[in-house]
Structures are given as C-alpha cells and as structure tokens.
C-alpha cells in the first residue's frame, strides 16, 4: 500500500447507463481499493450484472468515468481491458464446454506470451485447485457446477490479473462448494489480487468482503465497510433476514 490517500485500483464515477430508453445506472460510483475484496449487493434487476459489463467494456455507459489503475478504460475493447489486468469469472461460469479443462485454464493465459511462466502457473493452479488435476483432459462441459467454478477461477487467475471481477460466484453451487469458493476468494486475495464480486447472497459476501455497496434499481443506496453494513438494520431487513435464518 502506498502512503497518503492511496489511489484506488478501480474507480467508477457518476456512471449512467441506458438500455435504449431505460436507464440502468443512476450516477453510479464505486471504488475498489488495492488489495481489497469489494462486493456489490442487490436484488434482481438492480443493475449488478450491467456493472460487471461496464467494467469489462461489454456495455458502454452513456456518461461517467471508469478508471483502472489511474487510466481511463472507457472506449477500450474488452480484450484491451483484459490486457490491462482485469480478469473475469462470468456469471454461470461460461466455460468453453467442448474444450478440455487444460485448454480452458490455458485460455485464461491468452493475453500472455511467456510459455514457461504459463506452464508454471498451470502447475500452481493445480495446487490451488487439486481436484482439477485428475480432470485436465476431460471436456469442461462434463464437470459438475462446483468443478466448473474452480476451472473458471483458475482460468481467470492465469492472466495474472490485478483485479478479478466475479459475477455471482456461488450461484447454483452446493453448500459445500459455496464454502470452498469463499475460501478460495480469500486465498486469491491474500496473494495480492483485488476482487470485485457481485452477489445476491449478502450474508456470505459480507463475510469475506472488506467493503460493500448496495445497489437498488440502479442507485447505490448504501456503502461502507462490510463489517458496518452487516450490522446495518436496513441491510439486515432487506438482505439478511431470510438468509440468517437459514
């Protein structure tokens, strides 16, 4: 961490997004500090996934700024943004179903050209995700949801990103895998990679995040350290009521 007021790794400021006539984001501002896990909470149709698409350049905002590591990424194509050091674990994982697990993981290193280092990183992934070792030559589409999530995370890490953005990483996973995924996110973060994740499962997300934002119909209605938000009665009522009982 640098001294003084550290420049955030990712900063969205006053982003307004439209799909045709419909406005999706209203003056959205989010920052992800270096080395932090930041999560974005919100219900259906609150604009969470669109936020991910803005960061990755898949959707262009009508106004506002997106800065990554001190430089604007507005107007860059998705591949260019990926080359700057953002990797993604997309919603529903989106593996290349007919390619092998090994090929999927190596696809994550598509932007790199250092063959030997890539091979080393592949080995590293297999220590981080030991289960994948036996699955390397299997078709990715034949894996279980939890295993696919592992592959998606390994694939994202292979680009040696500074920021990983994850869209609902625990969606549709068995409770066992949910815990495993959260552990892994912590482990990834411990290696210095910042994480921005979108989640519906607020109690889990607040468990591991440093900061959190709550998005409601395109507006940030609450934000702050995850610990504070967890105690906030509004968050408890809106998001944690059901899940705490579970």
């Amino acid at each position: 961490m640098s001294t003084g007021a550290p420049e955030p790794l990712l900063a969205l400021s006053n982003v307004n997004t439209f799909y045709g006539q419909a406005q999706v984001h209203f003056d959205l501002s989010i920052t992800v500090g270096r080395g932090h896990i930041v999560c974005l909470l919100g219900g259906n149709a609150s604009g969470k996934s669109t936020t991910m698409k803005i960061i990755l350049g898949l959707v262009k905002p009508r106004s506002g700024e997106v800065m990554f590591d001190g430089a604007s990424v507005i107007g860059l194509t998705t591949p260019q943004i990926v080359r700057r050091g953002i990797a993604s674990v997309p919603e529903a994982r989106r593996l290349f179903a007919d390619m092998s697990v090994r090929e999927n993981i190596l696809m994550g290193a598509f932007v790199r050209n250092d063959r030997e280092a890539i091979a080393q990183d592949l080995d590293k992934m297999l220590t981080l995700f030991p289960k994948l070792g036996q699955r390397l030559s299997q078709r990715a589409g034949s894996l279980s949801g939890g295993e696919q999530q592992m592959v998606a995370m390994a694939r994202a890490l292979m680009s040696r990103p500074r920021l990983i953005v994850m869209d609902e990483p625990t969606m549709g996973l068995s409770p066992l895998y949910v815990d495993r995924v959260l552990e892994l996110i912590r482990a990834i973060n411990a290696e210095g990679v910042s994480v921005f994740m979108v989640e519906q499962n607020a109690s889990l997300a607040l468990e591991i995040a440093h900061e959190a934002y709550v998005l409601q119909t395109g507006k940030i209605v609450l934000s702050g350290p995850a610990r504070t938000l967890k105690e906030d009665p509004r968050v408890r009522d809106a998001y944690l009521g059901g899940s705490e009982a579970a």
């Binding site: 898949l58 990926v82 989106r94 593996l95 290349f96 390619m99 090929e103 696809m107 598509f110 680009s159």
Partner: protein, 607 residues
C-alpha cells in the same frame, strides 16, 4: 458402363470438393452463427482466378493453387471487413441477408468481367487413368484428394496448436467468454473468413479442372451443396462438415448411377430435407445441443411504419387504375404489369417472412406450382383460364404448404436453408417428372389470359386484370393483418417460445400463413404462365426468390403497401434509368446490401 467402384471414387472425389466449401461454412457458422451465402461466389471467383492463372499467365500448378488461395482469401477478408463487420450489432438476420447481397454482387461482377459464356479450365495434369480394382483413378482425382486431406490436416493443426486456432475454437463456443479472455473477436472473424475463402476458392478451381468447364452458374450450386454438407454434418461442426460432404458426394454419385445425371441435385436436397426433419442438429450432433434461443432480436424490429392516409392510397389506386386511359406507352404498361406480378409474390413473401418471420428463400417454387397447374389445366382439360389461375393459386397454397411443412419445426436460418432446398426440389421435380410437366422441354402454347370467354390481348386489359387481382389480394391481406390472426402471426415472429406458452399452435399458424401466401404467389405464377405462353423449370428460379426478398425488405417487412411500392421501385427504376439488363442483378444486390446496412426497416417501415 462404369463400375460401382468408379461411382464410389467419383463420390468421394466430389465429396472432397464439397468438403473444402463446407468446412469454411462450418468455421464461419461456428464463430458467427452465420450461414455465409457468399461462399459459393468465392468459389466462383477461385475458379476464374484459376482460369486467368492457367490460361493467361501459364502458371505451374502449385503456383496456381497458391495464387487462387491468396486472392480468394483477400476477397474473403474484404467481405468480412466491409460487408459484415458493420452489421455486428444489428439483428441476426441482417448478416445473412448481407451475404446474399454480396453473392449477387460478386457473381455479377464475375459475369460482367468474364462474360456469362462457359470457359474451359484445363487441369495441366497428364490425362492418364490408373486401374484400381474394378475402377480407374486419374491424377486429378489424386490431386483433389491430396488437397482435401492436406487442408484438413493443416486446419486440424491450426485449430489444435496455434494460438489463433485456440481463439477460433473458444470464440465458436462462447463468444463473450472468449472476449473476456482477451480474444479479439474481429481477428478471429478475419481468420475464419480468410481460411474459408481460401479453401472455397481452391475448391472452385479444382471443380473447374475436374469438369474442364467453368461458368457463373457454379456459384449458387456450390453454396447450396456446401450448405447441405455442412448441415448434414451439424452446423458449425468442422469434422462433421467433412463427413457430411463425403456422404453427400456418395449419395449423389450413387443416385446418378441408378437414376441418371439429372437426379444428382434432387438427391442432395432430399438428403438435406431428411436430415433437417429427422436430425436438425446434423448427424453428428452430440446429445447436448445448443439451447433454443427465443427469436427475439433475430428480425428487424418493428419500426414506426410510415402512415399513409386512406385517401392517398385510394388516390394512388385510382391513378394507377386509369393509367391505361392516358396516353402512356405500351412499354410503361408492360413494366407495370411485371411490377404487379412481382407485387403479388411480394405480398406473399412479406406475409411469410415479415409477418410470421419465416424467411423463405424458395418462394419462386410457389410461382412455379401455380404456373404449371394453371397452364396444364387450361391446356389439357380446357379449363377456362380464369378458373385455371384460381386453381393454380389453390394448388400452390395446398402443395406449397405441405412441401414447406417439414420446415415448420425449424427456426431462424434453418428455415431459410430448408425453404431454399424445397424450392430447388420443386424445380428439379418439374425437370424430371416428364410425363406430367414435359420435363426440360417446358410447356409452350399456353392459352392467353381470358375472362368470361373474352381473351385479354390488349396491354390495357392485361394491365387492369393484373392490377385488380393484386389490389384484391392486398386488401384481403391488410384485413388479415389487422385481425386477431395477424397479431398471432406477429407474436410467433417476435418470440415463438412465448407464443407457444400462450397456447398458439405454431404449426397451425405457419400453415395458415403459407396457405394464404401460397395462394397469392400461385395466382401470380398462373397469370405469368398465360402471359408468357411458355414456361419451363427455369422460368421461376432462386434469383426470383431473392428478388422478391429484396422487394419485401425494400418496402418494409410485413408491410402490405410496402411490398407493392418495393415491387414498383425495383421493377420500375431500372427501366426509368435504362439500366442494361446485365447490370440489374448487380443493382439488386447493391440495393439489398445498402438496405440491410442503412435502412433495415425499409422504405415504409416494418410492421
């Protein structure tokens, strides 16, 4: 008499040639979910580049192959960059229509440059045949097999071991996810189009050498065969395309062995229809198939249609109705009669393609059915011409709907492929069913138009007849569209899954649309038959189907008035500007391209 082994060898060699085309189609379909109807045009370009190289530049064979591959690849890159990339964010049907336009433009450019006359393309190889078992094989057969196998190997190595090849595979499985890995999808598209074009071009050259003849009709045939092979193997499946091609080659070759040369294409298209009906994902599709996407976003969205006040329409009808009373030339009436006939066809297609969303590429078949029915009934049974034309419309409605019904369970681009094949089948059946249709000789001496015993000989009376029929059909169709039925049609077009969830029977509504559309097209064909007094199996061809589609898009999909305005514009404007006949198809292609790019909703707007 050739042996079965000869037919097998021939089938495999021809299959190899198809494979070169089909593999390119499969690559492109994989990455862009697009059926590239311009693939045959590149094949044509390849054949002519080969001719230039061999006959004019006297290049040695290896150099010829390289030259053809490079030039064809360049053409492919240009198509991708200027024809398709600008359409990246438009509706899914737009690139398909663009490739049709591009193929028209390329074919016509080749025709204008080299004249439509066939040319000989010598193979530069010694003319010897080796005895193999009970059959023979020549050096050219070996060359074709060699090129096929080498290309397949190179492609395998490229896809499996090169970085760009990985990008191609990733993009074809999940485009968005590939982009998020840093894959530049534009580069992937370029690569795929370049490779597909190089293979297609070489294939055209080899076919030219094989038959020692090239002509511009090769283009559409190649596209059709390539598409058949690709769909048989499973769209987007590269190894499947190779197997599908060999299978197609063998089926055709054995079909020719048993029934004769004129049956070659019939077998190809029957194979396609059978595969589409029984295994629409191809013979080798895995159990896991692409999830059916709703058709939302496939079609050009309804725009705000231009409202034409009722009095203006009535005034326009009145002006056109009294036109023959004014001192206008015979030539103007003649042109407008053609426009009214095309207008009826466009009414039919705008209902089927625009309103219910089944983009038919075989609509000329409906004309042919109507024309043959009407001509034969009036000739052999002496049925009055007026009745015969109505019978032609009914036959087109009934037979057309039955023939097209196998495509009802298909969606999106597959409908276009199936209707294209069905259209070809109709024309091939007409060619081969000599006892009824008189085969290649065609039907001559068809009685002229007549109504209640009075022959319509003068241009004015023919004009009135055609105009009145078209206006009645248009009024009926407008009434239909404003009814509940019209709404159901549009619901199916916009989202067939949602429509089905609301209890609409897709088959029933698609049948109704084709029955109505079939009638209008059949009547148009019937009138044309009596007007021309001679028809054959080529009178109503795929070019006309595409022309009708251009008319419909020009007017605005689903728009009744638009269909007629489009017909008048496309028939009339070339006359006004005195454009020579050989440039017309070129103009139609360019119009289609410009429309898709700049005004997809057409002149009057889609409804």
């Amino acid at each position: 008499m050739s042996s079965w082994l000869d037919y097998t060898i021939n089938g495999l060699i021809v299959g190899n040639v198809y494979a070169l085309v089909a593999v390119g189609l499969a690559l492109i379909f994989g990455v862009s979910r697009l059926i590239n109807f311009a693939q045959g045009s590149i094949y044509l370009v390849g054949a002519y580049i080969g001719w230039v190289a061999v006959v004019q530049l006297h290049t040695p064979l290896p150099l010829t192959i390289i030259l053809v591959a490079v030039v064809a690849a360049l053409v492919g890159l240009i198509i991708e960059r200027f024809g398709l990339r600008p359409l990246q964010n438009s509706v899914r049907i737009a690139p398909l229509l663009a490739t049709i336009g591009i193929s028209f433009v390329l074919d016509q450019l080749v025709m204008l440059t080299f004249s439509p006359n066939p040319r000989a393309l010598p193979s530069q190889l010694p003319d010897v045949r080796f005895q193999v078992g009970g059959g023979t094989i020549g050096p050219l057969d070996l060359l074709i097999a060699g090129v096929g196998i080498t290309s397949a190997l190179l492609l395998f190595v490229f896809l499996r071991y090169s970085k760009l090849g990985w990008a191609v595979r990733a993009a074809s499985q999940d485009r968005d996810a590939a982009m998020q890995m840093g894959v530049d999808v534009n580069r992937v598209n370029q690569a795929v189009f370049g490779i597909a074009a190089a293979l297609g071009g070489v294939s055209g050259m080899l076919v030219g050498m094989y038959y020692n003849q090239i002509d511009t009709a090769m283009s559409l045939q190649a596209t059709l065969k390539g598409v058949v092979a690709e769909v048989v193997g499973g769209a987007g499946n590269v190894p499947g395309a190779v197997v599908g091609s060999l299978l197609l080659g063998l089926v055709e070759s054995y079909g020719v062995a048993v029934f004769g040369t004129s049956y070659r294409n019939l077998f190809a298209f029957l194979l396609l229809v059978v595969v589409l009906v029984l295994r629409p994902n191809g013979l080798f599709a895995s159990a896991r198939q692409a999830p059916p996407e709703p058709l939302t976003g496939t079609f050009i969205a309804p725009s705000r249609p231009l409202r034409i006040p009722c009095w203006a329409l009535s005034a326009a009808v009145a002006v056109f109705a009294i036109l023959p009373l004014l001192p206008v030339s015979f030539y103007v009436l003649q042109t407008l009669i053609n426009a009214w006939l095309l207008g009826m066809l466009a009414l039919s297609l705008t209902l089927v393609a625009g309103t219910i969303g089944q983009v038919s590429l075989g609509h000329a078949a409906l004309l042919a059915i109507g024309a043959y029915t009407s001509a034969l009934l009036s000739l052999t049974l002496n049925l009055p011409v007026g009745l015969a034309i109505i019978a032609g419309g009914l036959m087109s409605a009934a037979l057309g709907t039955i023939l097209i019904s196998p495509s009802f369970r298909l969606r999106g681009h597959y409908v276009s492929i199936a209707t294209l094949a069905i259209g070809e089948i109709v024309s091939l059946v007409i060619l081969n069913w000599e006892s009824v249709t008189r085969g290649p000789i065609g039907i001559s001496g068809i009685p002229p138009l007549s109504l209640f015993g009075y022959d319509l000989i003068s241009p004015a009376s023919i004009y009135w007849f055609a105009f009145a029929v078209m206006v009645v059909l248009a009024l009926l169709q407008a009434r239909l569209l404003s009814s509940h039925l019209g709404r159901s049609f549009r619901a199916i077009r916009d989202d067939d899954i949602a429509a089905r969830a609301y209890g609409l029977s897709l088959n029933r509504y698609k049948s109704l649309a084709f029955i109505f559309g079939g009638f209008a097209a059949g009547v148009s064909g019937g009138i044309a038959a009596h007007l021309y007094s001679y028809i054959n199996h080529e009178t109503f061809n795929t070019q006309q189907s595409i022309l009708a589609l251009t008319v419909v898009i020009l007017g605005g999909l689903g728009n009744v008035v638009g269909a007629i305005v489009g017909a008048v514009a496309l028939v009339g404007l070339p006359e006004v500007f005195r454009i020579a006949a050989e440039y017309r198809i070129l103009i139609y292609g360019i119009v289609l391209l410009l429309l898709v790019r700049f005004r997809p909703q057409g002149l009057l707007g889609t409804i």
